[in-house]
Symmetry: C7
Subunit: 106 residues, 7 copies
């Protein structure tokens, strides 16, 4: 039986330095009333949930620069950029802490 | 019933680091006398209102660099740049503090 | 009656950080004898008047870097660059302090 | 008999400064049931195993900046970049420590 | 009578920061014997005379960085670059101090 | 008899600052059994021998930054970059110390 | 009689900051036996003689950074770059100290 080396769960990812692992919030594909919308009317959202954060980058004295966000935060991500990660059918992204635009309060 | 993940209000956005959330002031689409102007005669304005500001970027010693503007300020924004944010039909932008050109006194 | 949001006076602009608000000096459109020159013989001048200056940029210790020019100075501006600002029919520009080339003594 | 100068084993490579030698984890070319998959259905994985790490880059005082990963770690590597190394039929890559995206816990 | 705003004399220019105002030395348009040369045989020279120098740029502690050249020096300027200034029919250039290549002793 | 100014021996080269003089290891043009291989089957190797190293670059306090490699080391060089030097029919390269990828233990 | 402003001797050039004035060593245009070679078989050499050096650039504390080479040194120059200077029919180049690749011992 072949051993599989592909990532089994996104939870096994521990971001390095100042990186932040996020999952983009999916746009609704159906209306509040439950009607499914055609693909073309579903817009990409730049809202994402923080799944894990790195320990922070190092400043010139070797101290960790504190992260701006934490696990569980909802954030606004830039329209372009980030490193894509795919686990099964799900897509995730890794951003540098300073690339995130805003936190989203709920 | 589907849960919606799209941003419900721009007020839920808390800019990170040195970012400034602004909304561009809309050009008048009608004259002082109330006559609606055709679309083509309405110019884009680079004037914007500050809706929220981040805590400031970090200098090399880890101290916050003070922001140049505050919530409620009116500012002149550059013609290009900024990160667009859309909530419903309204458009907003996020700029870095140092990208803003001038405050507008009233 | 619609409220107008467009900039009413250039005097309401307060440059941020190390920015300098200038107005380009207009080339004479008529000769010393009062004869109006055709448009094509009027050259763009790189001479400008300083209308307002920012408080200065911040150095790494958070201190203001002194500005090289002050309100009322006449300056030589570079041929390209600067951020354009339009108020009514008048055009202005914002430059960073270090982009200005020279002061003009009179 | 000609002496051969080509690299005989990847184990003879000792990364310099902040470089990290990794080998990309190969995607399964057959299913769990042992059926071999056609080439086109095998996706490139961005998961890699750390084979060796450099001593760390030097900061401005000449001190070593600690590495984020160590030998034996599994890491997520960026989709592009890295310096390729080929030993026989096997392919390896060298990344700078800060280019690695995340550690993979097992 | 129209007031003229154009620069009347190059002597009114006071370079800012580390800028150096120079005038390119003109190539001879006639031979030693007084014969005028056709335009095409006159080569551009990269030799220039320093007309005025700025007070020097500011280092990180806010101190002036000393200028390498002074008024009256003859210098070798780079083939490209510099900001052109025109006063009447004469052309001048502004360079940053560090862009000048060499002093010319006579 | 004309005096020749061309480099007579690679041994006369003393690298400056952080530069490293290397010679790429040549790929075997014949098999272990002594059969010569056609040109197209001989691959470029990125393995090189260090012939000489500079004294190291200068840090901001004017101290030498130690070199990572020394004369006689075998190193892995990047696929692109380096400054080529030709002495007679032999080709050499100069790299900056930090461009070298790894040492090769034997 | 017209005064000439063109550079009369390369010896009048005093390099500024970290610049190095060099003259490329000319490739032999004839063989050891005195036979003149056709132009196409004469290769450009990257070997040059140092004619003059600047006082060194300034570090952040305003101290001179020592030069790596001195007048009379023979050096290996990069294949591209440098600022060309022409005096009469002779061509020279100015390089920054750190652009020079190696000294050549004789």
């Amino acid at each position: 039986m072949p051993k599989t080396t592909a990532l089994k769960s996104i939870k096994s990812l521990v971001p390095l330095l100042d990186r932040v692992l996020v999952q983009r919030v999916k746009a609704e594909a159906k209306t509040a009333g439950g009607i499914f919308l055609p693909e073309s009317s579903v817009k990409e959202l730049n809202e994402a949930k923080v799944l894990a954060v790195g320990p922070g980058g190092l400043d010139k004295e070797g101290k960790r620069i504190p992260m701006s966000v934490g696990e569980g935060d909802k954030v606004l991500i830039p329209q372009y950029g980030g490193s894509p990660v795919k686990v099964g059918e799900e897509e995730y992204s890794l951003f540098r802490d300073h690339e995130l635009l805003a936190k989203i309060k709920e």
